[in-house]
C-alpha cells in the first residue's frame, strides 16, 4: 500500500496540489468575508434596538442549528432560481460564507464582551462617543481575543469544505474522488488527502497558538 501511495502521489501530485490550493483559498476567502459580515451580525446582536438584535440572534440560531451539508444544498438549489447564470462555485462559496458568518459573529461578540466593562466606563467618563469608544478602546482590545479564535475557525473551515466535494467543486476531497475514479484505488488517495489535511490543520493551529502568545505577551 505504501508503494501505491507513493506512486499515486507522484503521478497525481498536481491533482492533489490543485485540490489543496482550492481548499485553502475557499477556507480563507470564506472566513475573510464571514469576518466582515460577522462584525455586523455581532454588532446587531449586541444592539439595544430590539428587532435588530432579535433578527441577528435568529440568523445565528438558524445557521448554527442546521447542518452545513443542508445549507450547501440549499444555496446550491435556491440561488440558481434567482440568478440562472450563477456558477456552482459561487453558490458554494456563499453557503460557506453564510455558515461561517454565524460562528464568526459569536466569536466577535464573545471577544468584545470579554473586554473589561471598566474600559467602556472609563471612556464614557471621558466624554467619548459610542462610536469612538468602540473603535478606539473596545475593538483594539477585543481583537486580541478574536484573531486567535478566527484562526481556529479557518481550521474548522478547511475541514468543512470537504463537504462541498458533493458538488465537485475541486477542493481536496474532489481531488481524491477524481484520482479514485481513474485509478480504482480508494484507500491510497484517501490517505494522501488525509495527510494533506493534517499538514494544513497542524501548521495552522501552530501558527494560531503563536499568534495567541504574541498577543498576550504584548500587554496585560
Amino acid at each position: 500500500m505504501i508503494r501505491n501511495i507513493i506512486a499515486i502521489a507522484s503521478r497525481y501530485g498536481n491533482v492533489f496540489l490543485l485540490g489543496l490550493w482550492n481548499t485553502v483559498w475557499l477556507s480563507v476567502v470564506s472566513v475573510t468575508f464571514a469576518a466582515v459580515l460577522g462584525i455586523f451580525i455581532a454588532l446587531a446582536k449586541m444592539s439595544k434596538i430590539r428587532p435588530l438584535s432579535r433578527i441577528a440572534a435568529c440568523y445565528i440560531e438558524v445557521i448554527r442549528g442546521t447542518p452545513m451539508l443542508l445549507q450547501l444544498y440549499f444555496f446550491w438549489l435556491a440561488l440558481p432560481n434567482l440568478f440562472p447564470e450563477i456558477p456552482d462555485i459561487i453558490c458554494i462559496l456563499i453557503a460557506l460564507v453564510v455558515n461561517a458568518s454565524a460562528y464568526v459573529a459569536e466569536i466577535i461578540r464573545a471577544g468584545i464582551q470579554a473586554v473589561d466593562p471598566g474600559q467602556r466606563e472609563a471612556a464614557m467618563s471621558l466624554g467619548m462617543t459610542e462610536k469612538k469608544i468602540m473603535s478606539r478602546v473596545i475593538f483594539p482590545q477585543a481583537i486580541k481575543n478574536i484573531l486567535p479564535a478566527l484562526g481556529n475557525e479557518v481550521i474548522v473551515m478547511i475541514k468543512q469544505t470537504s463537504l462541498a466535494s458533493t458538488f465537485f467543486i475541486g477542493e481536496l476531497m474532489t481531488a481524491y474522488k477524481k484520482v479514485q475514479s481513474t485509478t480504482f484505488l480508494a484507500l491510497e488517495p484517501l490517505t494522501i488527502a488525509g495527510l494533506i489535511y493534517l499538514f494544513l490543520t497542524v501548521t495552522l493551529s501552530r501558527l494560531t497558538k503563536r499568534l495567541e502568545q504574541r498577543m498576550r505577551a504584548n500587554e496585560r
Binding site: D116, G118, G127, M128, V137, E219, R220
Partner: protein, 249 residues
Amino acid sequence: MKDNEYIINVQGLVKSFNGLKVLDGVDFEISRGEVVTILGPSGCGKSTLLRCMNLLEKPDSGHVLFEGTDLTEQSSADIIRYRRKIGMVFQHFNVFPHLTALENITLAPVENGMLSKEEAEKKALALLERIGLSDKKDEYPTRLSGGQKQRLAIVRSLIMEPDVMLFDEPTSALDPEMVMEVLDVIRELADSGMTIVVVTHEMGFAREVSDRVLFMYNGSILEEGTPSEVFDHTKNERAKDFFRKVIAN
C-alpha cells in the same frame, strides 16, 4: 462662571438594582472648590451615588444638576459633552492597556476633537511631569505599578480640565505602600482648588483634606458635616459604630 453656584446638586436620587433600593432619596450639593468625602459601609450606595453624578448609572428618579443643568433631562449626545467636564477615577484604574501612558492621556481630548494631537501631547507631557512619570511616557500600563496606573488615570481625566473630579475608592485596589503616592496627588489637587468628591475608606485622609464629610447608610445620607463634627461628635449610632470599627484598625 458663576462662583456662588453649586457645581453638582443632587435632588431626591433613587436607584434600584433588581428591586433592591441602593439609593433611597439622596439630596446633596457641592460648591465650587469644595472637597467632599463620602464614607459608609460597603453596599451603602456611595459608589452608585458617585456614578449617578456623571450618569454612568441612570437614576430611577430624582435630578442631577451640573452647574445648574439637569443632566437627567439631557439627550445622550449632550450627556456625553457634560461628562467631559466631570472627571472620574475608578477603583481599578481602568487605564487603557493597549495604549502607552502618553496615548492614554491624549486619546480622549484628540478623539473628542477638543485638542490637536500636538497640543494634547504637550499638555500630557506636562501632566506626566507633574506626577513624576515623564520617563514612563512610552511604557504600556503592564509595565506600571498600581500606584503609577492610578496616577496616570488621574491625569488622564485632568487633561479634560474638568470642573469637578469624582474619585471612586481610588486607593482600595492598591498595595499599601502605594496608597500614599496616589493620596498625595489627590491632596495636591485639592490644594490647587479643584472641586472633589471622593468615596474612600482612608479615614485619616478624609479627615485631613475634606471640607465636608457625608456618612451614608442603606442608600441615605445619615450624617453630614465638617470632619470633626462627623468623626468626633456624631450623635448617630450607626455612624459611631462604623467609625469605631474602621478607626480601630
